[in-house]
C-alpha cells in the first residue's frame, strides 16, 4: 500500500504491506535501525519515536496509519560528531550500558519534556491546576514507559535533568 511518511525531515514514499508496523518500516524498509524492537507489544518503550512531535510506541502502529505524518527517529536527533545536547548528556552521565533501550529513552525524553512544557499532568502531579514542577519523582514517573534492563535509571534521570532547563 502506498504511504508517504516524512522521516527526519525527508519525505519517504513507501509501498508497504498493510501489516508492517511503523517500527518495522523504519528498521527493515528504511534501514533506520536506531529505533529498537524490544518487545513489539508496547511493553518496553525501546521503539519510541516522535510522530508530529509526540512520543509513541512505533511497534503498536501500522506504517499505513502514518501517511502524511512527520516522524523523528534517533537518527534525526543527532549524529556521531554532532551529538545533540541530550545525546551528549546520556554519554556524559553514563545513562546506558548495553545501549539497546537508549534511542527510545532519548526520543521519549524529548517528547516528555515537550509534554511538561505543555503542562500535561502525570500521576505524580498532585495539584492538577498548578504549573508542573519537574521534580525527580515527576521525571521518573514520566519516563517509566521506557524500560532499561541494565537499570541505568539514576543516570538517565541525571542526563535528562542536565538538559531539561527546568529546576527540580
Amino acid at each position: 500500500m502506498k504511504t508517504t511518511i516524512t522521516v527526519n525531515g525527508e519525505a519517504r514514499a513507501l509501498d508497504v504491506d498493510t501489516r508492517t508496523t511503523l517500527l518495522d518500516a523504519l528498521r527493515e524498509t528504511l534501514h533506520l535501525a536506531g529505533t529498537k524492537k524490544g518487545c513489539d507489544h508496547g511493553q518496553c518503550g525501546a521503539c519510541t519515536v516522535l510522530v508530529n512531535g509526540t512520543r509513541i510506541n512505533s511497534c503498536l502502529s501500522l506504517a499505513v496509519m502514518h501517511d502524511g505524518d512527520a516522524v523523528t527517529t534517533i537518527e534525526g536527533i543527532g549524529a556521531v560528531g554532532a551529538l545533540s545536547p541530550i545525546q551528549q548528556a546520556f554519554l556524559t552521565e553514563d545513562a546506558f550500558q548495553c545501549g539497546y533501550c537508549t534511542p527510545g529513552q532519548i526520543c521519549s525524553a524529548l517528547g516528555m519534556l515537550a509534554e511538561v512544557a505543555a503542562g500535561w499532568p502525570s500521576q505524580e502531579t498532585a495539584d492538577l491546576t498548578a504549573p508542573i514542577q519537574l521534580t525527580d519523582d515527576e521525571l521518573r514517573e514520566r519516563m517509566s514507559g521506557n524500560i532499561c534492563r541494565c537499570s541505568a535509571y539514576p543516570q538517565i534521570v541525571a542526563a535528562i535533568r542536565s538538559v531539561s532547563g527546568l529546576p527540580a
Binding site: 501489516r19 528498521r27 513489539d40 534517533i74 546506558f96 541494565c150 543516570q155
Partner: protein
C-alpha cells in the same frame, strides 16, 4: 605459570597509573554510536556486497506443551503461504551434530535445532518458517499446525522439592557438628525462603543474521561467549571452526542469558546455506521467556544458632532448586555463605530436581542473587531476637580467615563497607521500633544487608598493534554486554603504551581475534584486561627493542629497560621521539604483540571475593501493601576500579536488579501446563524508573594484588548480591512483617499484615 607472588612483586603501568587513565570516569568508548542509534546489533548489520540478495526472515514456532511428543505437524498451508521459502520441522531439518547428553557453558558441543518429535519443555522450538518478509514469515508460522501427545508435566517445584538429589559431583560441606550446635544454641532462627523463577529480560531479544560466502559462514549474533558459540555452532553444522566467523560487537544485554546460544543462530545459519541468501532470525519477546534460559526457583532453609551476645555458633543454608529434564545446572544459593560469617559449626549444600520446565541456567550472580535473599534476612531476624543492631551483628561475626577453608582472605573490607555506608546513609537514624516514622500514607523503614560475590580469573589472549600514526589497536575475541569492556580495554591500552585515549581503537566481538572467554561471572574485566596488559607490555618491549636498535632514533643504543612511554612519546632520560615516528620508519605496516593471562598456580590459596554493604529506605503503605524504595546506597570493595563511571553503573544496575528480585520479579508456573503464566514484559515486571528513588553506589579504594596483575576484580554481579535482602529488611522495619516468599508483592504483604492483625 605465574604465581600470586609474581603479580604482587611486579610493577606495571596500570598499577603505576602515571597518566591517570586507570580509575578515571571515562565516557564509554562506543557511547557515541549507542546514543545515536548507529551501533548495529545482530539483527541490524548491513550486509556486505558479497552477500547474495536481501535478507530473508525466519520466524520460529514454539511448542505448546511441556512434555510429550509431536504426533503430527502440518506445514502445507504454511509452505503455500505468500513469500515462504522454506518450512522446517524435525522431519526435514538438515542433519546436525548430535546433542550431548549434558553440556555446559564452557565446553563447546553441538546444539542441534528441531531434533526430534520429543518435547522437553513448553516453548521449545518445533519449526521454523523462512520467508521474504517478516510479515509473511510471521503469518505462515501461525499456520503450522502441531498435534501433540502430551504427558502430564512434572512442573510443580514446591510439590516435588523433596525429590531433590545431590547435584552431580557435589557434596554438602559440614564443619564441626552443626546439628548438635544448633540444638544447643540459646537463640535460633529456622525459616524457609522461596525465590521464584526469574527471567533475564535483556532488552534485545536473541537474534542472528547469517550469510555464506562459499564454504565460509558469517554470523552476527548476540552472545556473551564468542569462541564457545563459534565452536559449538561449527560442531552443530558439522563444519570446521575456521569456517565460521562469529561476530557479536554490540549486545543488547546479556546477564548470563546469552552465555548460551539458541536456535536463532543455528537455524539462520542452516537456512542461509540452504537458500543461498542471508537469513535473519529473532526470538519474539514471548519466545524469550520460555525458549531461552532463566534463573530457577529455590527453596532455602536457613538455620542460625547464636549466643545471647550475638556470636554465631551454628549456621546452615540448604537449597533445593530445579533444572530442566536434561540439564544439570544448579543455582548454588548456599555457596556464598561458606565464606561470609564466622561460625564454628556449619552445614551448606544443595538438592536438585529435574523437571519438565524450560532450561535453567546462569542469571546475574547465580547463587548469590538467590542465596543472599535468605541468609541476609535471617541475620536481620536474628539481630532483632538478640536486640543487637543488624550491622553490628554482622561485624561481631566477621571471620579472620575463610570460615570454611581457613584460607586467608586476599583482602576483605566488608566491615569498612558497612561502617562507611552506615555513616553516609545515616544508619544511626534507624530505630528498631517498627513503623516509627510516618510520611502521609507511607510508613518508612530502613534496612541493610551485606554483599559478597566471588572473583574469578580465566585464561585469555589479546593482541595490540601500533600503526604508523601511533594509534594502538586492541584486538580480542571478548564481548561488551554493556559492562564497559570497550572502554576499560582502551584505558588499559592508553596507560600501558602512554598514548592519549583518543589514539586507541578497540576491536572485540569477533571470533577471528585472540580468544577470551567472554562476559560472565564478573570475570570479564579482570580476565580480558589482564591479557590486554600483557599484550601491552609485550608491545612495549618490542617497541623498545626497535628503538634502541634504530640508528635513526634518538634512543639508539640506550638501555631498553629504561624507556618511558608518555603522551605518544618514547624517551630515555632526555632523549625522545614520537612513537609514531619510530613506527613509521621501522614498521610502516604496523607492529603487533600478543599477550595472555592464565590463573596463577597458587590462586586458590586465598579466599577471594568482592564485598559490599547495602542500605535502603523504603516506604510501605500498610493499607495496600505497596512498597516503594525511596533511597538506596551501596558501598563496595572490589579491587582497583578501572573506570569509576562504568563500574558505578554496573553496581547501581545490579542494586536495581536486587530491588526487582525483592519486589516485583518472578515467573509463576502453571503446573497443569508446565508453562510460565507471565510471558511478556507486561506480565514479568522488571523495575521501571518510578520504582527507583535516590540511588547511588560508592567504591572504596582497594587493590587486590592477589587477584591478577592489575589488582582489579569484577563488579557486574556484586551489586545485586544482598540488595533484595536489604529491601526486605527495610520492609520489616517499616511494618513488622516478613514475607519469605519472593517477590514481596502487595497481596503477600497484605496477607502477612492481616495475619498479624495489622
Amino acid at each position: 605459570m605465574s604465581s600470586v607472588a609474581d603479580w604482587e612483586a611486579a610493577s606495571n603501568p596500570v598499577k603505576e597509573n602515571r597518566a591517570g587513565n586507570i580509575g578515571k570516569a571515562v565516557d564509554r568508548y562506543e557511547g557515541p554510536l549507542k546514543v545515536t542509534g548507529t551501533a548495529p546489533y545482530a539483527f541490524e548489520v548491513e550486509l556486505p556486497p558479497s552477500a547474495s540478495g536481501p535478507p530473508l526472515y525466519g520466524v520460529m514456532v514454539s511448542a505448546a506443551i511441556a512434555s510429550g511428543r509431536i504426533a503430527a505437524i502440518e506445514t502445507a498451508q504454511a509452505e503455500a503461504s505468500p513469500g515462504v521459502r522454506l518450512v522446517w520441522t524435525h522431519l526435514n531439518v538438515p542433519e546436525q551434530g548430535p546433542r550431548p547428553e549434558r553440556y555446559d557453558f564452557f565446553t563447546p558441543s553441538p546444539r542441534p535445532a528441531l531434533q526430534s518429535d520429543r518435547v522437553y519443555f513448553f516453548g521449545q522450538q518445533v519449526a521454523v518458517v523462512v520467508a521474504d518478509t517478516f510479515e509473511n514469515a510471521n503469518a505462515a508460522a501461525a499456520m503450522v499446525k502441531v498435534t501433540y501427545e502430551a504427558d502430564a508435566p512434572m512442573a510443580d517445584f514446591h510439590a516435588v522439592r523433596d525429590q531433590g538429589v545431590q547435584p552431580p559431583g557435589e557434596q554438602d560441606t559440614e564443619i564441626g557438628d552443626f546439628a548438635a550446635a544448633f540444638a544447643a544454641a540459646p537463640v535460633t532462627i529456622d525459616d524457609v525462603w522461596r525465590t521464584p523463577l526469574q527471567n533475564h529480560c535483556q532488552m534485545e531479544p536473541c537474534a542472528t543474521t547469517a550469510w555464506w560466502d562459499g564454504d565460509k559462514l558469517t554470523v552476527n549474533t548476540s552472545v556473551q561467549m564468542v569462541r564457545f558459540a563459534q565452536n559449538s555452532l561449527a560442531e552443530t553444522l558439522m563444519i570446521p571452526s575456521k569456517s565460521v566467523r562469529l561476530l557479536t560487537r554490540y549486545i543488547g544485554g546479556g546477564f548470563g542469558g546469552k552465555g548460551s546460544f539458541y536456535e536463532d543462530l543455528v537455524l539462520a545459519s542452516l537456512a542461509a546455506r540452504e537458500l543461498g541468501q542471508p537469513v535473519k532470525v529473532a526470538f519474539s519477546r514471548q519466545q524469550m521467556m520460555h525458549g531461552t534460559v532463566h534463573r530457577p526457583a529455590t527453596e532455602q532453609r536457613v538455620r542460625l544458632g547464636a549466643t545471647p551476645d550475638g556470636k554465631l555458633t551454628a549456621m546452615s543454608i540448604m537449597t533445593v532448586t530445579h533444572c530442566d529434564s536434561r540439564g544439570n545446572f544448579t543455582e548454588h544459593a548456599s555457596n556464598f555463605a561458606r565464606s561470609l560469617y564466622a561460625a564454628p559449626n556449619r552445614l551448606t549444600g544443595h538438592r536438585l530436581v529435574r523437571m519438565d520446565l524450560p532450561v535453567a541456567s546462569a542469571m546475574r550472580a547465580p547463587g548469590e542473587a538467590s542465596g543472599t535473599l535468605s541468609l541476609e534476612v535471617a541475620m536481620d531476624e536474628l539481630a532483632e531476637k538478640l536486640g543487637i543492631d543488624p550491622m553490628e551483628l554482622r561485624i561481631l561475626n566477621e571471620p579472620e580467615t575463610d570460615p570454611e577453608t581457613g584460607k586467608p582472605f586476599s583482602i576483605r573490607q566488608l566491615v569498612r563497607c558497612m561502617r562507611e555506608g552506615a555513616q553516609i546513609f545515616g544508619w544511626d537514624r534507624r530505630t528498631p521500633k517498627i513503623g516509627a516514622v510516618k510520611n502521609g500514607r507511607w510508613t518508612i523503614g530502613l534496612g541493610m544487608a551485606a554483599a559478597i560475590r566471588g572473583n574469578m580469573l580465566l585464561p585469555a589472549k589479546c593482541s595490540f598493534t601500533v600503526d604508523a600514526e601511533g594509534v594502538i589497536t586492541v584486538k580480542q575475541g571478548m564481548t561488551d554486554i554493556g559492562t564497559g569492556t570497550y572502554t576499560v580495554l582502551a584505558q588499559i591500552a592508553a596507560e600501558t603504551l602512554g598514548v592519549p585515549l583518543g589514539d586507541v581503537r578497540v576491536e572485540i566481538g569477533d571470533s577471528e581475534l585472540p580468544p577470551a572467554p567472554g562476559s560472565g561471572g564478573q570475570f570479564g574485566a579482570a580476565t580480558a584486561g589482564s591479557a590486554a596488559l600483557d599484550a601491552g607490555m609485550n608491545l612495549r618491549k618490542a617497541i623498545a627493542e626497535i628503538a634502541v636498535a634504530d640508528p635513526a632514533s634518538p634512543l639508539y643504543g640506550g638501555p631498553s629497560q629504561d624507556i618511558t612511554f608518555q603522551d605518544g612519546v618514547i624517551a630515555i632520560a632526555n632523549r625522545s621521539e614520537r612513537l609514531a615516528d619510530l613506527i613509521r620508519r621501522n614498521r610502516p605496516e604496523g607492529l603487533v604483540a600478543e599477550g595472555e593471562i592464565r590463573p596463577a598456580a597458587d590462586a586458590r590459596n586465598w579466599s577471594q571475593h568482592t564485598y559490599g554493604a547495602h542500605f535502603v529506605e523504603v516506604a510501605v503503605d500498610t493499607v495496600t501493601g505497596e512498597v516503594r524504595t525511596r533511597r538506596m546506597l551501596g558501598v563496595f570493595a572490589a579491587g582497583r576500579i578501572l573506570n569509576w563511571k562504568t563500574a558505578r553503573s554496573q553496581l547501581t544496575g545490579g542494586m536495581i536488579w536486587g530491588v526487582g528480585s525483592a519486589l516485583t520479579e518472578g515467573n509463576a508456573v502453571d503446573p497443569r501446563h508446565g508453562s510460565l503464566i507471565n510471558q511478556d514484559l507486561a506480565g514479568y515486571l522488571v523495575p521501571v524508573q518510578a520504582d527507583i528513588g535516590e540511588l547511588d553506589a560508592i567504591m572504596l579504594d582497594e587493590v587486590d594484588d592477589k587477584a591478577n596483575p592489575m589488582g582489579i576484580k569484577g563488579v557486574g554481579e556484586l551489586g545485586i548480591s544482598g540488595a533484595g535482602a536489604a529491601v526486605a529488611n527495610a520492609i520489616y522495619n517499616a511494618c513488622g512483617v516478613r514475607v519469605r516468599d519472593y517477590p514481596i508483592t502487595p497481596d503477600k504483604l497484605l496477607a502477612a499484615l492481616e495475619a498479624k492483625g495489622l
